[in-house]
Every structure is written in structure tokens, then in C-alpha cells.
């Protein structure tokens, strides 16, 4: 112990010295500093709390603003959509109008063309009859009774024999509308006679439309609803071809 | 052999023990650095325990030193 320099007296001096220092420093330094640290920590934590509250408030405000903004945005979007829809509808209407007008114009033009055709074909009908008579005279080599021939030809084209419509004989058809097709336009007298008979067959009431189709060559085709009465030359020729075969 | 020479050799031999302490301090530092590298957030805690471990390990070397000094000076 002596060699190490350990000495009880010095040891005790050091211990008492330390205890004195401990008491002094504790009173004047450490306790105040620790108190101050705790106070400061409290202040800081309070400040942090305040800050967090403020942050929360700000967040709420931001949320509110965001909500308002999004509402406004959606409103604007809805309005824009409505406007667009309205504009589109208007545009469609305009287009439809225009199309309808165009269709009407076209129909009118078509009707005009039809009438013209009917007129021309009506004009041609006389000549066709004369040509047919001339051809027959040439073929047979004798003069034919011009008047009788004319009647024959008329009958051929109109399908009306001795004031009666041949197709309708013995036929019964029920309906409210009939379409009568002839190879060449019918004269007004023929038309009225055909109409009368067709109406009689239908049962007094109905509507009769006349059409011209040179493809059927001669006679009449009457269509009532889905029923077709074929008195045309082409139909007869077809039937003949069928039977020959 | 002179007593003085024997003392010096003895002190030298006593300090061999510091070898293990050096190894131990190195290992402690290794562990600490690895821990900090894996989890840098825990650096404070790891440093404290690492220093404590290093101090305990170092105490062995200090004992060697004290023995060596006792041999030399007494």
C-alpha cells in the first residue's frame, strides 16, 4: 500500500473534498440547470403541441379549400357537359332538317322524272301501237282493220278486255291498298275503269296506285298487300316457258 | 540475471495481456459499426453501449498496464 502511495488520510481528504464539491455544485449548478432543462423541455413540447394544432388547423383549411375547389370544378364540368350536349342536339336537329329538306327535294325531283317518263311513254304508246299494226300488216300481207287493231293493242297494254280487268276475274283479294303496274301508262279512262274494278274486288274501299314498268311488256300486275295477281305478258311468257320445259 | 533486467522483462511479459484487450476492443467497435450501418437511427444507443463495452474490455489492458507498472516502479 505504501509503495502504491495509498494513504488512508489522503483517501479521506479526497472523499470529503469530493462530497464538498458535490454539495456545492449540486446546489449552484446542477439542480438549477436540470430544472431549466425540464422547463425548457416542457416549453418546447408545448410549442410543438401548439405547432401541431396550428398545422392541423391549416390542414383543415386546406382540405376545405380543396373541397370548395373540387365542387366548383365539378359544377363547371357539369355545365360544360350540358352545354355541349345541347349544342350537339341542336347540330343534330339542323342536320336532320337539312337532310329532310334534301330528301324532299330529291323526292320531288324523282316524282318529276317519273311523271316525265310516264308522259313520254304515253306519247310513245300510240306510235308503238301503229308500229305493231304496220309490222303485222307486213307480216300477214293484208290490210287490217285499223280500229279493231287499235283496240286489240290497247287491250294488250292495259289488260282491260271489253271494259273488264282480266286479272281480277275470279280473284278475291282483301286489303286496303292496291298497286297496279302496267307496261305503258294507262289513259285516264282506262285508269278510272281499272280503279273502279279493283275497288270492287277489294270491297269498295281502298287506295289504288298506278305504276309504269316497261319490263312486264303488257297486261297488268295487281298487288294487294302480299298477294300478287300477275296478268302480265312477261308472267304469261314465264309460265309458258315453264310448261314447255 | 540482474534484478533490474528481470523486472523489465517481467513488465514486458505482463503487457502481452493487452493483446487480447486490443482484439476485444476491435471486435466491440466492429459490432457497433455494423449495428449503426444496419440501423442508423439507433446510433445513439448503440454508441453508448459500444463505449461501455469498449471500456470494460479496455479495463483488462489497464490491469496489465498496472501490473507492469507495479513491477517496474516498486
Amino acid at each position: 500500500m505504501e509503495a502504491l502511495g495509498i494513504n488512508l488520510g489522503f483517501l479521506l481528504v479526497q472523499v470529503f473534498n469530493f462530497l464538498l464539491l458535490l454539495i456545492l455544485l449540486r446546489k449552484f449548478v446542477f439542480t438549477p440547470i436540470v430544472n431549466m432543462l425540464e422547463k425548457r423541455r416542457e416549453t418546447i413540447s408545448k410549442g410543438l403541441e401548439d405547432a401541431s394544432i396550428a398545422a392541423e388547423a391549416r390542414e383543415n383549411a386546406e382540405k376545405e379549400a380543396e373541397k370548395l375547389l373540387s365542387e366548383a370544378r365539378s359544377k363547371a364540368a357539369t355545365e360544360a357537359r350540358e352545354l355541349t350536349a345541347r349544342a350537339e342536339a341542336q347540330a343534330k336537329e339542323i342536320i336532320k332538317d337539312a337532310e329532310a329538306k334534301a330528301g324532299k327535294a330529291r323526292e320531288a325531283a324523282l316524282a318529276e322524272v317519273d311523271q316525265e317518263r310516264v308522259r313520254v311513254l304515253g306519247e310513245v304508246r300510240g306510235q308503238v301501237g301503229a308500229l305493231a299494226v304496220a309490222a303485222a300488216q307486213k307480216l300477214i300481207g293484208e290490210a287490217l282493220d285499223a280500229k279493231k287493231q287499235q283496240t286489240l293493242i290497247d287491250e294488250f297494254f292495259s289488260g282491260v278486255k271489253a271494259g273488264k280487268v282480266t286479272v281480277l276475274e275470279g280473284a278475291d283479294a282483301a286489303g286496303s291498298a292496291a298497286v297496279v303496274t302496267s307496261a305503258l301508262p294507262l289513259s285516264a279512262a282506262e285508269q278510272s275503269s281499272v280503279q273502279e274494278q279493283v275497288l270492287k274486288t277489294l270491297g269498295g274501299k281502298g287506295e289504288v296506285t298506278f305504276k309504269v314498268d316497261p319490263n312486264i311488256l303488257g297486261g297488268l300486275v295487281v298487288r294487294v298487300g302480299d298477294k300478287v295477281l300477275d296478268g302480265s305478258v312477261s308472267g304469261q311468257l314465264g309460265a309458258l316457258r315453264q310448261s314447255i320445259r | 540475471m540482474e534484478a533490474e533486467a528481470a523486472k523489465m522483462i517481467g513488465a514486458g511479459i505482463a503487457m502481452i495481456g493487452a493483446m487480447g484487450a486490443g482484439l476485444g476492443v476491435g471486435l466491440a467497435a466492429l459490432g457497433g459499426v455494423q449495428g449503426i450501418a444496419r440501423n442508423p437511427d439507433a446510433a445513439g444507443t448503440i454508441q453508448t453501449s459500444m463505449i461501455l463495452g469498449i471500456v470494460f474490455t479496455e479495463a483488462i489492458a489497464i490491469y496489465c498496464l498496472v501490473v507492469a507498472m507495479l513491477i517496474l516502479f516498486i
Binding site: G9, L21, R26 | L52
Partner: protein, 342 residues
């Protein structure tokens, strides 16, 4: 930008030249006044004759150089507390500058460490932890001041001792050492002079932790603090950790628990030894290192050792306090600890 760079370059240049000038001055000084091989004595040297006798033990009291260091540290710390820190704290400010800021930061570190370990006993433990740290820190860093450990009087006892250990060694009386100055009939000398001479001088101030009385005293205080806080926290049940009579009644592992308790007593007392020798060993080794490096390589090399000692002084101060704190915190908890010490 260019200007700033120029300024920095200029500054760096100045520092470089100052360092070079200091090294050159060191070389000249070492050549004119070569350092002596130091004579290192383990016990603290006596500076005076017997002043008085201790009342109870009857031992002689000398003023030793480590005692001087402790007194200086005491005066420094008390003056700091009374004349610097107390007014600053009373001023009611929240933020401090300078040395008060440093002290406050260190106390905050100590407080945080304690609060993390000790829980509700924090306020009791912090002053002890902090006082140990501040005292040891002051005393350790004193070692770094030039003149401490190196300026003193020729020590007759040490001289005799040195002559006795190594008769071949020249001593001061043989080689005339120029005294720095003279007080009365005492020549004040420094480590320095002729290379062959041993300087058996008693420095006026020697780092206090190189005296086992100081470290043992601190360790004893720390030990007592641990026991006292243990009893305060748990009452007499604290001693159950050491003498576990209840465990004897239990079957099986009970007897082993009792024996473990006996070992706890041994480990408790070995704390004193390990505390005191850890601090003593570190600082004493540092002192020897400083002296030896200073005499072997007189120029510049000591700077590195000084930096090392700066760190060691801080770490040892903190560790002494921290271990005290941890053991005190353990003593307040009732489960008997698995690892009481290293």
C-alpha cells in the same frame, strides 16, 4: 468567389508558416536545453514537510502535488459555478453562449443519459454523475497544460529512491541543472538539462488521477452512492441480492442462488478496484506516454499524444460517471441483475 479563395489560401499559408516556425523553435529549444529522462514515481511526491497529523489515524499530512491539482480543480469549479454559471442562470435566459453553454450542453447529455436509464431516480443521480464527470474532466485536462508534470523542485526522497534503484544513474547534484528561478533556498527546475541526468523532480502540479488516493476516493464515493440508493429504493430487501436467505428455503436451484449472492458481494467490492484502477491506469499511462515521448522526440511528436490524451480524459471522465449512474440505476431495480460488472 475568386477573392474568397484567395483569402482562404492566404489563411492556410499563414497557419502553415506558424506551424513551421513553432517546429523550428522547438528544434532550437531542444538543442539548447535538451530534455532529461524523467524519473517516474508512482506515489505522489511531497511538496512540504509534515504539516499536521490526522486526528484519528495519526498519519502525517503532507501537501502532495496531486492534492495541489485537486485544490486547483476545486477552486476552478467553484469559481466557475459561483461567478459564471450562477449569474448566467439567474439572468433567466434560455440560450447560453461560451463556457456556460458548454457546461449546459454537457449537463444535458448527462441528464439525457440518466433519464434513459434511471427513470424516476434521475434527479437524484444526475448531480453525482455530473460532479464526478466535471471533477475528473477538469483534473484530466489539467495534464495537458504545459508545465504540469514537468516544473517543480528537486525531490530529495525521489532522488534517494532513484539512486537506490539505479546507482549508475547520474542525479541532479552531479550534473548541474540550471534552475528556472529560486524561491528562498529552493531551486525551481524543469525537466530539461543534460541528457544523461535523471530528473528526480517533484512537479508542483501533477495530474490528480495519477494518484491512487484520488481514484480510490472517488470509487469509494461511487460505491457508497450505489449502496445508499439501493437501500433507499428497496429498503432492506436490497441486501437480499447478496445474502439470499429466502432462496435457501426453496428446493432445487435455491442453494445455487445463495452462492450466486455470495459472488455478488465479491463483485460488488471489486467494483471499487476496477473503477479506481481504470481511471488511474488510463491517466498514469497517458502521463508516462507524454513524458517519454517528450524526451525521446522533443519536437512536434507530443502534439499527437496530447490530442489522444484530450480524448482519453473526456472519455474516462464520462465513463466513470456513466458506470456509477448505471450501477445506481440497477440498484434501484429489484430483480437481481445478471451482469453486475464486467
Amino acid at each position: 468567389m475568386a477573392k474568397q479563395e484567395a483569402t482562404r489560401k492566404w489563411k492556410y499559408g499563414v497557419n502553415r508558416w506558424i506551424a513551421l516556425a513553432i517546429i523550428i523553435a522547438g528544434v532550437i529549444a531542444a538543442g539548447m536545453y535538451p530534455p532529461l529522462r524523467p524519473y517516474i514515481s508512482l506515489p505522489a511526491e511531497h511538496l512540504t514537510d509534515t504539516l499536521f497529523y490526522f486526528p484519528l489515524t495519526g498519519e502525517k499530512f503532507f501537501l502532495t502535488n496531486t492534492m495541489v491539482a485537486v485544490l486547483i480543480a476545486d477552486v476552478f469549479l467553484i469559481a466557475l459555478a459561483l461567478f459564471v454559471i450562477r449569474p448566467a442562470l439567474k439572468s433567466g435566459k434560455q440560450v447560453f453562449k461560451g463556457i456556460v453553454g458548454v457546461v449546459e450542453a454537457l449537463v444535458e447529455v448527462i441528464y439525457n443519459l440518466t433519464a434513459g436509464t434511471a427513470g424516476k431516480w434521475t434527479k437524484t443521480i444526475v448531480p453525482i454523475f455530473a460532479t464526478i464527470t466535471f471533477l475528473v474532466l477538469t483534473v484530466n485536462w489539467m495534464e495537458l497544460i504545459p508545465g504540469v508534470d514537468s516544473i517543480g523542485v528537486i525531490n530529495e526522497i525521489s532522488l534517494e529512491h532513484a539512486h537506490h534503484v539505479n546507482p549508475d544513474l547520474h542525479v541532479e547534484t552531479d550534473c548541474d541543472i540550471d534552475p528556472l528561478f529560486t524561491i528562498g533556498n529552493t531551486n525551481v527546475v524543469s525537466i530539461g538539462g543534460q541528457p544523461d541526468c535523471a530528473a528526480a523532480i517533484a512537479p508542483f502540479v501533477r495530474a490528480a488521477a495519477t494518484d491512487l488516493n484520488f481514484t480510490l476516493g472517488l470509487a469509494f464515493v461511487s460505491f457508497m452512492a450505489i449502496q445508499i440508493i439501493g437501500v433507499r429504493a428497496q429498503g432492506l430487501r436490497y441486501f437480499e441480492k447478496f445474502i439470499n436467505i429466502r432462496a435457501l428455503g426453496k428446493p432445487g436451484m435455491g442453494k445455487i442462488d445463495f452462492i450466486v449472492g455470495i459472488f455478488e458481494i465479491v463483485s460488488e467490492f471489486s467494483k471499487i478496484i476496477s473503477f479506481s484502477f481504470r481511471l488511474f491506469g488510463n491517466i498514469f499511462a497517458g502521463m508516462i506516454l507524454l513524458l517519454v515521448i517528450g524526451t525521446l522526440i522533443p519536437v512536434a511528436a507530443q502534439t499527437g499524444v496530447l490530442m489522444l490524451e484530450f480524448a482519453v480524459g473526456l472519455i474516462q471522465a464520462l465513463v466513470f460517471g456513466m458506470l456509477t449512474m448505471i450501477f445506481m440505476a440497477q440498484a434501484t431495480q429489484s430483480h437481481h441483475g445478471d451482469e453486475e460488472h464486467h
